[in-house]
């Protein structure tokens, strides 16, 4: 009898707990007030966790600093971006005003989706003092979607390829040459599936080669483009029968020497991998006709349980010191989102002294060939239509 009651009580409790509807926690009025109220709290940062360097930048560099300066504990949760956006939209549906996520790392179509669904808080610029240091162009738009103060730029990168110079004698100089190179070196090149952020970007580079800016006005990709892309297949890794599911898998294939090229956003990303002996020693940058520039951002969800902690964390992540270490080769190599002209002379010098790594591309050429990203509609169209290439 007793057991039955306990069982029933537990069951009902679960229900009651799930239905509780609390008031959303608001931002404090000023940053100082926020820092004070965040003192002693924990802030949950949800972010893609597929890169060791990035993870250790957060865990080994940012977390101790945050603890020291603000007495705020940082809890990094590794999760695919689309997945926590989905979780937030379920929260929204269920009207769950106090959730679990304080800060998210986001950009591109995920930001567009989050913005459309009303999942993010605005008013970040006025609340985070370091936001005044941001590069205004980078801050304005997220792959074609206006940011409207719903997110703050965290980093700025460009898409490039890397190749193993020990195996590739005459690296291609354009996407057309790359296609011909795959014919001469069958099985040594592939790109991730287009559900992956990087794989999708690779296909967008090929689209840019054919359509240029035009596609932004009118998103119609002709069948002939896909037919041409299908002609790459027989010369790709596994004869194009399958593609790496993620960039990590492609990097793994590259590290083990199965393929001779890899790719990704962030022109400095290979440096740490080479230093750590993961990528081949002779890894070099490969800059083709054009390179999509991409900014990634930080945002605070509508139901953040610790919004003040979120402000403190973002302030810290946008500080010149944290941005400098982020751009350095030690952890991540991610380009800064700050406008260097807004920094004082010391900080400017420090950024300039970071210098070049052996796997970095020529920075002038990189800037010259930089192109803005297509909007989310092109990303969606590529996702929808590419599967015919993989069939």
């Amino acid at each position: 009898m007793k057991k039955w009651r306990v069982l029933f009580a537990t069951f009902m409790l679960t229900f009651v707990a799930a239905c509780g509807n609390e008031q959303a926690v608001e931002f404090s009025d000023s940053f100082e007030a926020a820092a004070e109220s965040a003192n002693g709290s924990t802030v949950n940062l949800y972010m893609w966790g597929g890169d060791e360097g990035i993870n250790s930048y957060i865990d080994d560099y940012v977390a101790p600093r945050l603890e020291k300066s603000y007495d705020v504990e940082l809890n990094r949760v590794a999760m695919d971006t689309a997945e926590f956006i989905r979780q937030l939209s379920l929260d929204k549906k269920a009207d769950r005003q106090v959730g679990t996520i304080d800060v998210v790392w986001i950009n591109g179509d995920n930001f567009r989706n989050a913005k459309e669904a009303g999942l993010l808080r605005n008013g970040l610029t006025e609340r985070v003092p370091n936001a005044t240091l941001l590069n205004e162009t980078a801050q304005q738009s997220d792959a074609g979607t206006p940011t409207e103060d719903l997110e703050l730029a965290w980093g700025n990168v460009q898409f490039i390829l890397h190749y193993d110079a020990a195996k590739v004698d005459n690296p291609p100089k354009s996407f057309e040459e790359l296609r011909r190179w795959t014919e001469d070196n069958p099985g040594r090149f592939t790109y991730p599936e287009v559900t992956d952020f990087t794989g999708n970007a690779f296909v967008r580079h090929l689209l840019y080669e054919r359509y240029g800016d035009e596609l932004n006005q009118n998103v119609t990709i002709e069948d002939s483009f896909w037919d041409d892309l299908k002609t790459w297949s027989p010369n790709l890794w596994k004869e194009g029968q399958t593609y790496p599911k993620t960039l990590e898998q492609l990097d793994q294939l590259y590290a083990s020497g199965d393929v001779w090229m890899t790719m990704g956003f962030n022109e400095r990303r290979a440096e740490g991998e080479v230093v750590n002996g993961i990528f081949p020693k002779e890894t070099r940058a490969l800059l083709l006709d054009h390179s999509i520039a991409s900014t990634h951002f930080l945002a605070v969800p509508f139901n953040a349980p610790n919004p003040d902690g979120a402000l403190v964390l973002i302030q810290e992540l946008l500080s010149p010191e944290a941005q400098l270490v982020k751009q350095g080769p030690e952890y991540w190599g991610d380009g800064t989102s700050l406008d260097l002209t807004k920094l004082d002379a010391n900080d400017q010098n420090a950024f300039e002294e970071l210098g070049d790594g052996v796997t970095y591309p020529n920075s002038e050429q990189l800037l010259e060939r930089s192109i803005p990203d297509y909007g989310p509609n092109v990303i969606d169209t590529v996702r929808e239509e590419w599967p015919r290439v993989a069939k």
Partner: protein
């Protein structure tokens, strides 16, 4: 005591119904016509059906045969060895097989990530044989040898001996194992995600992809597919148990009625 077990029974049987209800709600608004003619889902469905049936059949055959042999020959040591894969999680097993079969030419001519899903099937067989083995071991240990002796005395062929003196007792554990395996393999994610291919994907992988990428965030189709598959499996369970009900009852009671 009795009431608490009744409550527990009701609770447990309510879970699948709640799940069905949930799937039904989430699937509302699906364009069923479009779903059934969608080539990506259809290819995925066919491939899943193939992987599930081959893995399940082979696991059942080998698991049963091993249990039978181990009991007959009293192979204690083999029995212990066979249980080892049970303790390896599916994700670890998938990774193990991936290490073995990926790379330039695979191992023994078999490659991971190819469209016949051979390595996926091999992983499932390796993982599920011990499960079937354990399910059948108890049955074989308790099997009344009298029937086999009788069959031998009647000079039946080995096949007929198995059919009349062993198989009827195996029906229940075999059915149980079959449906557990089918339900598990059909929507599992990690093994086909690691060892599968870009196209066609198995249902679990495709459904997850559709649920977690931007373009499909509002999609109801994955729920609809899960609903269809659940109903199919549920129907299979119901029919197979119904068809064998009288037989199973007879075996349990030990008399013909």
């Amino acid at each position: 005591m009795l009431r608490s077990s009744v409550a527990l029974t009701i609770l447990v049987s309510l879970f699948p119904l709640t799940a069905l209800l949930f799937l039904g709600i989430e699937a509302t608004g699906t364009d069923w016509g479009a779903l059934l003619t969608d080539e990506t889902w259809r290819d995925s469905f066919v491939t899943t059906l193939y992987v599930v049936s081959v893995s399940t059949m082979l696991s059942l055959v080998f698991g049963t045969w091993l249990a039978r042999t181990v009991v007959k020959q009293r192979w204690r040591f083999t029995s212990t060895i066979l249980k080892i894969p049970m303790f390896v999680p599916h994700i670890a097993a998938a990774y193990l097989f991936w290490l073995l079969f990926s790379g330039a030419n695979g191992f023994g001519g078999i490659e991971a990530n190819e469209r016949d899903y051979v390595t996926v099937i091999l992983t499932y067989i390796w993982k599920e044989i011990p499960f079937v083995f354990l399910m059948m071991l108890g049955t074989y240990e308790q099997l009344n040898r009298g029937y086999v002796e009788t069959a031998k005395t009647l000079q039946l062929s080995p096949y007929a001996q198995f059919k009349h003196a062993e198989f009827p007792f195996l029906i229940k554990p075999l059915l149980d194992s079959t449906w557990i395996l089918v339900a598990f393999i059909s929507f599992a994610y990690e093994v086909p995600a690691l060892l599968g291919v870009t196209y066609p994907k198995l249902l679990g992988v495709l459904a997850y992809e559709r649920l977690s990428t931007g373009l499909y965030l509002e999609a109801t189709a994955p729920y609809a597919v899960a609903l269809i598959w659940t109903c199919l499996v549920g129907f299979g369970v119901f029919v197979s148990y119904l068809m064998t009900a009288s037989l199973r009852r007879r075996i349990e009671r030990g008399v013909r009625r």
